[in-house]
């Protein structure tokens, strides 16, 4: 056991103070230290995208960042998207309505990829959607319904504005 160091990390607008070993991955910190198991872990080498979170608002792999590097930073995980189960984020609602998931393993990472993507590009073409999804593997859906869900989400989010 090596030495632990204190960190202060804001996750979904809540401030957490913990002691971490430098080698603890941010993905494991979220899951094991904070119990936020919505962030999934598939490969631990950056390929599958299941662990994608927002780091200061930008999508990144939480399996390729040490928790200690998040000291003082702002993290958003899938648990931060909806107020409660009756008030889903429009992207979540669209995944529900368009059947954008089957087993759901890939879903949190895909949602966290899409939040900044739809902010930067509120009217994506199908090509742009598929490109945006290229860093997230899904073994169930064949992606078609995910693409449909993204289209639906972009319409819903425009209607809200």
């Amino acid at each position: 056991m090596t030495q632990s160091f204190p960190v202060t990390i804001t996750v979904n607008e809540k401030i957490y103070r913990r002691e971490v070993e430098p080698r603890l991955l941010l993905s494991d910190f979220l899951r094991h230290e904070l119990g936020l198991t919505g962030t999934h872990v598939g490969c631990e080498h950056g390929v599958c995208g299941a662990c994608t979170i927002l780091f200061d608002g930008e999508s990144m792999r939480s399996c390729l960042i040490f928790a200690i590097q998040a000291d003082g930073h702002n993290i958003t995980t899938v648990e931060g998207l909806a107020k409660d189960k009756d008030n889903l984020h429009p992207v979540q609602q669209s995944f529900w309505e368009a059947h954008g998931l089957q087993c759901g393993f890939c879903t949190p990472g895909i949602l966290m990829t899409l939040i900044p993507f739809l902010k930067q590009n509120p009217n994506p073409t199908e090509d742009e959607i598929r490109h945006a999804l290229s860093g997230n593997l899904c073994r169930c859906t064949g992606y078609q319904h995910i693409v449909d869900a993204v289209k639906l989400a972009s319409e819903k989010m425009k209607a809200v504005k």
Binding site: T2, F5, E21, P22, R23, L25, D28, E44, H45, G46, G49, T52, F55, E58, S59, M60, R61, C63, L64, I65, F66, I68, Q69, T113, F117, H131, A132, S134, G135
Partner: protein, 293 residues
Amino acid sequence: MKPAPFEYHVPDSLEQALGLMRQYAGDAKILAGGQSLVPAMNFRVAQPGVLIDLNRVSELSFIRGKGETIHVGAMTRERHLEFDSSIEKHIPLLTEAAQFIAHPQIRNRGTLGGSIANADPAAELPVLALALDARLKAQNASGERWIDAHDFFAGMFTTRLAADEILVEIELPFMPPRTGWSFMEVAPRAGDYALMGVAALVTLDENGKCKNAKLVYLNAGDGPVDAKESARLLEGEALKDAVIESAAAMASEKEINPFGNIHTSIDFQRHLANVLTKKALKQAAQRAEESLQ
């Protein structure tokens, strides 16, 4: 798997970082974006004793114009290269190629300095450093030196940086006038490391003949491969199909030295190099001609 334990340092100035590099030279590794190093540590392929994290050294993150060049700090994220308007205006080859590096989530974290220091033969940015005649600034606690990109790469994942040196800055000259560019690669899936890729640059003279050409390949040897002889075939020529085909044939059969991998045979890599070179040279030539009008 999980990384082995290591000692962690997080300097907030370059001076501190250089001091730590002197103290731990040999045992320490720089942690930049971590998008190559952390996967290697998770697999325990890499087990550095000491990590020096540059993510809080904000003075290494910048994109600045300086005369006819753009200077980029080593810790500048790949995503910022992709969206910088001065780079798009003066070095459009870099803007075009940056979109092929991994996925947006990786580019948000990965850095220019990290990719060049990593010297992965399949990476885009080392190829760009050669194609654009970049100069690289290395610094240690006792001083700094500029290294020509053509002298920087020393084989698979190996560079000429000394154990206590940090790559701090990259100088990229503007692309000259009447220059056309193209970047093309083939990957199994958008964002994956490519099976083969090429950066092509052609500069025309006043009469529309090729004055200067560059062809640099990824995944074609033990580092970025500058196919100088093939590019030389184009010089002084009007860029017609016949000469483009000769250059593509020479580069793909003679100048590159691909190894093949689980996704591709060597023959297929040579075939891709041939096809990509022809397409890239045609696009580059067309763009150069458009700039004459």
